[in-house]
Symmetry: C2
Subunit: 340 residues, 2 copies
Amino acid sequence: MRIFICGFGTVGQGFAEVLASRKKFLSERYGKDIIIIGAMDSRTFACDPAGLDPLSLVSRKKETGKVGGKEYSDPRDVLSECDYDVLVEVSPTDIKTGGAGLGNITCALERGKDVITVNKGPLALRYRELMDLAKKNGCLLRYEGSVGGAMPIINLCTEGLVGEKITSIRGIFNGTCNYILSKMDKGQPFDQALKEAQQLGYAETNPTNDIEGYDAACKVVILANSVFGRDVKFDDVRITGITSITDEAVAMAASRNMVIRLIGEVTESKLEVGPRLIPKGHPLSISGTLNTAQIITDLAGPVTVSGRGAGRTETASAILSDLIAIADRRLRTDGKSLHL
Amino acid sequence: MRIFICGFGTVGQGFAEVLASRKKFLSERYGKDIIIIGAMDSRTFACDPAGLDPLSLVSRKKETGKVGGKEYSDPRDVLSECDYDVLVEVSPTDIKTGGAGLGNITCALERGKDVITVNKGPLALRYRELMDLAKKNGCLLRYEGSVGGAMPIINLCTEGLVGEKITSIRGIFNGTCNYILSKMDKGQPFDQALKEAQQLGYAETNPTNDIEGYDAACKVVILANSVFGRDVKFDDVRITGITSITDEAVAMAASRNMVIRLIGEVTESKLEVGPRLIPKGHPLSISGTLNTAQIITDLAGPVTVSGRGAGRTETASAILSDLIAIADRRLRTDGKSLHL
């Protein structure tokens, strides 16, 4: 099985490292190697049908700023020239246009290739179109890491809980906001908590996407489309960020044994991101940078998951889980269980 | 696909009802019906190769106390006479001998039949033996509901997180104890909280299995064997219950912003159940009857799940998820994805 990695920033490099660390596990599981045959960053690419060493790719990127020795002008040329089985699309997210990722995913699916992505832009903007294209061409399009990083939610909802009627999902989908709100629980003012989040690398220099709730809104859109079968876009989300939450509001919540959390909520008809009061001890009352989601089902009742919403290795681990699911499907031809 | 249900108490009836409620979903997913062809309680059985109506079985059991019109002396005779594809084994748990369930599961696996069970006894006592037997005969043995009811943990660890190195699992595996401890957080004395749990049906008249930690210990054993590949038994668990937790201890924890929870813990070398101090806001600090588990992995970091640990429909929902996984494997012969 041959992989092409589009985007070689933090997540792309993290995935190459994870793949190297799981080489033996994957060879034993499938009786054959899973190799990287190509990688591309914003300007350069490398391609070798015999396989590229993952760690050498990471070193070259670190040392030269380029993943490959060749430059390209149109990514479609590269993706047509190199032959691969699975495209791992982890180029930078652009939630306004879909960015390069949208073109890369489309190009791969048109050629009948399976795709794994964590790129929220294309999924938040063109989910239905991309899934239809995948279906038409008999491809798998998987995106576990696009919502909540290493928090297992997409595949849990669409596979493990597929027999359930899911009536709502409510969750904390932005670790930066949760970090800030947790610090405010302890008496820190908003500005100071934000500054600390920036110093620790949780928040970007321009924190708008996080604190205004835009990042959480993307995830809510992906859940609405994938789990609820809706056909919604970013602009359909009613969004309130956390910038107007005062110290007084947090203190008043505490006096009622509650905390304030930025909650994304999806149902058949609702699509919202905004601050909510959560009782202490409730699964959605967690502190720190974790993401969490409570899935309400008709048979199982409430099922809650939490995990790290971001991070190099954490996001790569979500890609690995999708890769294993694809390989289980594609490489398991004898009808025997791999899980025994 | 033909199902035989062994044990027709709360969970068996709940599963029959769930199957009836998902008739259309399952027929559409697989292009064929999944039917119950037999059911057995402690003395009687019913069997019809053409299929039995799930809700009629439940009605008959409720009205007459018997699931079937015929009595049997040896369950093996019944399980040999009726032809089925999947055995759903939900007879009463016996953590000392394995009870009837151990014989039923063994009998099915010997005949090459897939098995779904939530019966902790056979799994806590003979896990390795049963899995080896399943493997030898090319069968699937699944048991999602045996640990934490509707909390998705077994299949998450052995499938979704199969690419991870799991280093530890710590969790709340007994909802009764968690209910009592949550009430103690609010100032109720232990005896009163226990009495209330009994009145609400959370705790049995003889609450020993719950409050002494024995029930949680069974689940810890199942996790150790299935997720960590260990070969341990109930007697290997170091168990402390919650009976000696005083109001003073709970108050002192609260003064340090902590709660006391009964935590089961498994690593490569550890196997324990006992009260632990958990910081408020931590995923394991949840209140009420929920079960929860934090899985520590090398790539994804901590992944936490929670859900209802018991209940008629909740436990049946875990059986349904195992049934779908088996049907996906057995009935998907065209190589095409069912999840697109």
